[in-house]
């Protein structure tokens, strides 16, 4: 899917401000993600990347500004409504339902949405095809999976919602280096399925390689955007916003 068929972006964040208690976390964040587009969100720790994702998901409600999904305002909706409208969220620590089996984890997103049995089977077949290890472990409790398997499950689970966009928060965090190529593969899978991704990641080479565009955040604001292919990990822009 390309952005060309749509005039409006899939998700538009307009000047959102959020507070955590009294501290002002986001100071007017604005960004856009097109249909099927992979967009990276880079920045040092604590600049508000995760909070931006939470605000889009409806887990944090902005006090000012708008979150628009296909021109519809969703910033004030509870998270479960936002999820049903097509925004999927894979949090930083994956948050698998540890005592639920792999199948039950997948069911949380599959049931109760009025999806036909045939379509449910299609969706399950699709993720089991992409991640065969999940099929092998379908009756195993989520908490017994390895870190990489849990990451696959977290993404497979959110794919059950048939989202238009997935907010992916630090998918490589805590994974062994050889699992990073697995994440690259997963993002590739999502691109092939036409799902847009907003990717927050510390791994700069991976982000630049996987994304079409990248935003750089600093102090609760988006300060810069660039076409990913025009940057590399040593580029001065990268150093400016991420360097130590």
């Amino acid at each position: 899917m390309s952005t060309g068929a749509h005039t409006e972006p899939l998700v538009r964040v307009e000047d959102i401000h959020t507070y955590y208690g009294k501290s002002h976390i986001l100071h007017g964040v604005s960004l856009e993600v097109g249909h099927g587009e992979i967009v990276g969100l880079l920045g040092r720790n604590g600049v508000g990347k995760s909070t931006t994702l939470k605000a889009i998901m409806g887990l944090v409600h902005p006090t000012r500004g708008e979150v628009l999904l296909e021109s519809q305002s969703v910033g004030h909706l509870p998270a479960h409504r936002v999820a049903r409208l097509g925004i999927g969220y894979v949090p930083e620590d994956r948050r698998i339902f540890r005592l639920l089996t792999v199948s039950e984890n997948l069911r949380t997103g599959l049931d109760g949405r009025g999806v036909s049995e045939a379509r449910k089977k299609e969706l399950l077949d699709m993720v089991f095809d992409y991640f065969p290890v999940l099929a092998e472990r379908r009756s195993q409790a989520g908490g017994t999976l390895s870190g990489g398997e849990q990451q696959m499950l977290a993404i497979a689970r959110v794919m059950m919602l048939e989202p238009k966009i997935i907010l992916l928060d630090e998918p490589t965090e805590g994974l062994m280096p050889r699992m990073v190529s697995q994440i690259r593969h997963i993002i590739h899978v999502l691109r092939r399925e036409g799902v847009a991704v907003l990717l927050v990641e510390q791994n700069v080479p991976l982000t630049l390689e996987a994304s079409e565009r990248v935003y750089f955040m600093e102090k609760g604001q988006v300060r810069h955007q660039a076409v990913a292919s025009e940057l590399h990990a040593d580029h001065e822009v990268v150093h400016k916003y991420l360097g130590v």
Partner: protein, 289 residues
């Protein structure tokens, strides 16, 4: 439990027979307690609400007197209580919910006092058959209670294990935020759980009513015991609560071989205190990490 024995004559009968009878008594009462406590622990597990009105829902059920009707009416009442008093407090300090449910319990108790009067009401057993158990004529109704309670708990287990709402309830109990992000309608689900817990309290009230009669203050004893069970079983742990209910009930039953039943409740408190001291996460949960 006046039918079981007279206090003076304990050694007139074989001790083994006594123990067997007390085992059956313990299991019967334990099953009712398990029914009360599983509703309480379900509610606590998913919403961190300590429901002080649980005993009053039990009492109202006992007044209604018919299992299906009581369950439905009190479940609807539970849903209404949740929507009007607890949902607005979502995300606030748990202390607020304690105050609210305590307030609701006072309202319900005084409503019952006003409506039904202070005199305990005798409720007839739905059937009066007995069978011989050693020197006793043991009422069939008591065995019925144990079986019905077990059936209701079994139905709850199947519901939690296999139904969509069951999977959602378990997911939400583990991680409410992530459950919401997965599109699970959490506010509606919490109301449903509160209704289920209320309905189960009412069902146990109906089953227990005929054993000792019904009055407006009967809920207190039960909610107290159910709290002990929930703590001993591990807060929010359903299987633990059921095991703890049977365990505590049996211990009390055996203790009342030697002391009066009203003193035997001391045993429950001893178990509670020991649990809190030695294993605060509950007796019937795997060793915590």
């Amino acid at each position: 439990m006046p039918t079981t024995r007279s206090f003076t004559s304990i050694w007139e009968y074989d001790l083994l027979e006594q123990i067997l009878i007390q085992t059956i008594n313990g299991i019967v009462v334990g099953m009712i307690l398990a029914l009360v406590a599983s509703g309480l622990t379900l509610i606590f597990g998913i919403m961190d609400v300590v429901n002080f009105a649980h005993g009053e829902l039990f009492m109202l059920g006992a007044y209604v007197g018919v299992v299906t009707l009581a369950t439905l009416v009190v479940a609807a009442l539970g849903a209404a209580i949740h929507v009007t008093t607890l949902r607005p407090l979502l995300g606030r300090d748990p202390l607020n919910t304690i105050l609210v449910t305590f307030g609701v319990s006072l309202v319900l108790q005084n409503y019952a006092l006003w409506q039904f009067g202070p005199v305990a009401r005798k409720i007839n057993e739905p059937f009066v058959g007995h069978f011989n158990l050693f020197y006793l004529e043991y009422p069939w109704y008591r065995l019925m209670i144990a079986l019905l309670s077990a059936a209701i708990i079994g139905a709850l287990w199947l519901f939690l294990k296999y139904s969509t709402y069951g999977v959602w309830i378990r997911a939400t109990t583990q991680d409410r935020v992530m459950a919401q992000a997965m599109g699970i309608p959490v506010p509606r689900l919490l109301t449903l759980v509160f209704a289920i817990g209320s309905g189960m309290a009412a069902a146990s009230g109906v089953l227990f009513g005929p054993l000792v009669g019904v009055n407006h203050a009967m809920g207190l004893d039960w909610v107290l015991k159910a709290f002990i069970v929930v703590v001993v079983g591990g807060m929010g742990n359903l299987v633990g609560s059921i095991a703890a209910a049977i365990f505590i009930s049996l211990t009390e039953s055996y203790a009342s071989l030697w002391v009066s039943p009203s003193q035997a409740i001391i045993v429950s408190f001893v178990v509670l205190i020991l649990t809190l001291l030695l294993r605060p996460t509950g007796l019937f949960v795997p060793t915590p990490k």
